[in-house]
Symmetry: C2
Subunit: 336 residues, 2 copies
């Protein structure tokens, strides 16, 4: 047994919908040493992601829910400080399922990718070169398949994924339209993320969308679902593609909420609606990250981070993300 | 001006939902002669299709609605009896947009494909080798992409498309489950169309579907939409595909009816939902028809026809199709 303590954020009750701080507790546990085939790392940057709602709710999802009493599932960038695995050395940086905690002990099954500090700042390993950038890149190119002069609409467009999708679609020759919840975020989308237009969904959406997309929508990159998505889908062109990347606007899915049926839209305009989960694409992470790092170095890509430094605030940071109060990728920095 | 009369079924008022006989009239008009670049044909087999509801309703569709006072839009197999176009000779059989009428005069813009009487009986040119078989073949293979041991669920499974989809999916190595509106049709699906199981949607559907698909659904070929489709989609497996080929269970789409939202199903199980309209695939008609004709000749494919001979009954025949009273592809035979 190691003498160090490991601070952990533990799930203590099962939320319905978006988890709140009272669903979590801070727990101090003695740090265990790595066994053969394991390594110990210290977390540097913890990720705070909308997908974490799905990790704690007891409803159908792409992974079983976090058990009550367990450390909150989260991705993080960490540094190996002790290794008993031949493929990992102390001093290496890794990105993986290391949880909302100070330290992590285990084997390579938790690894998502190795982080190369020469590619980009370490924090980018959890955002731009982590699931946010990888999602933007792979979902846009492999599912959305943008073509020159397409009109691309992105929801949660100022967010960690949406801000990158807009820039990548623009680089692919598209006209980009941001859907956001405030004019302030809309202006940010225009000035920093290169969007051609924005729509504030708190205004009458149908009119605003008609003005922003006079030639309809070819590709809809949807992070929110619900009534905003309903309005976009009804403006889609023949052979339009919908990338279902998130469902952030709807907190509870059991029982499923009602909405307008889409079968006739899908049929008559030959729409393709497809779900995207980044973990199906791990084999392509390094290639996509290399392309993103190259764009970053050549000044063609901007990303923003919203960093806190108090581990205990992680649950509140997640609420903030759900309420749109973050300004860029939300991270908890534990160490430099 | 030709001295012959052309009997035509004309749309006289705009229906909401499924058209009824009173929306049509029989009109006798003098037959006009073909001009340069045109040909005259006599219709042999008129097609009666669920898609015709969409042709007469004034709602979004893949073609503008049939104008009031115009001949009802329909596909038919006809024989050229006079030609002033160098590519068409008297005696040739053609399949195209020749309408619910005795004769058709015009140019090649109405043609869908040439009918070769050595491939199959002439009537098959409007069904098995016409849009029904072509839809089954192309939608199943190009959008559905069946894989061996997939569980494939087909709605309107005893219908002109569904009966063929089941057989083709079976030939692709799949397990096939028919959804039908009566046990009589279910038994037909098992005995004649080779389905492995059937579900009568007038019984409690969720239980019946669970029994028929114990390992979930990989491919859903949907001709009906609505509550039946809702139940199937919730049983779909990871990476499941939905071919949206028809929406027959829902007569009126303006305003859109409500149903359970699917974004979460699509996202978490990476479903792909895609609309299919056969007229996007005209370039592949002859190839697909040749494959279907080959299967027919080798005894691997069965199809059924439900033939009437009274042109004036065409509107009632369409109602019958909507109410499931046909037994196979519905056709009006005007001549041999």
């Amino acid at each position: 047994m190691d003498s160090r303590q490991n601070r952990q954020i533990v799930l203590v009750s099962r939320p319905v919908g978006v988890p709140e701080p009272h669903h979590f507790e801070v727990r101090n546990t003695p740090l265990v040493s790595p066994e053969d085939g394991q390594f110990l790392l210290e977390n540097l940057y913890l990720s705070v992601d909308p997908a974490q709602r799905g990790y704690v709710n007891d409803e159908n999802n792409y992974a079983p829910p976090v058990p009550i009493g367990a450390v909150m599932r989260a991705m993080a960038v960490g540094r190996v400080i002790e290794s008993r695995h031949p493929d990992f050395q102390a001093g290496e940086y890794l990105y993986g399922w290391f949880g909302w905690q100070d330290y992590w002990v285990g084997g390579p099954e938790a690894l998502l990718r190795r982080v190369d500090p020469s590619q980009a700042p370490l924090s980018a390993g959890a955002g731009l070169l982590g699931i946010n950038g990888l999602t933007a890149w792979l979902a846009l190119h492999e599912v959305g398949r943008p073509m020159a002069n397409n009109t691309v609409v992105v929801t949660a467009a100022a967010g960690a994924v949406g801000s990158l999708v807009g820039q990548l679609a623009k680089l692919a020759g598209c006209r980009t339209v941001a859907v956001v919840g405030s004019d302030e975020k809309g202006e940010l989308c225009l000035s920093r993320y290169g969007y051609d237009a924005y729509v504030n969904y708190r205004q009458p959406l149908e009119e605003a969308l008609s003005r922003a997309c006079p030639e309809g929508v070819d590709l809809f990159f949807d992070n929110v679902a619900g009534t905003i998505a309903d309005t976009v889908i009804r403006r889609m062109n023949l052979f339009g593609r919908v990338v279902q990347c998130g469902t952030m606007s709807i907190p509870v899915w059991i029982p499923p909420p009602q909405g307008p049926r889409f079968e006739r839209e899908v049929l008559t305009r030959r729409l393709r609606i497809e779900g995207f989960v980044i973990f199906d694409h791990i084999a392509r992470f390094d290639q996509a990250a290399a392309e993103l790092a190259q764009l970053l170095k050549s000044g063609k890509l901007h990303y923003d981070e919203d960093i806190e430094t108090d581990l205990a605030r992680a649950p509140q940071a997640l609420v903030d993300v759900y309420e749109g109060r973050n300004r860029g990728k939300k991270l908890i920095r534990l160490r430099e």
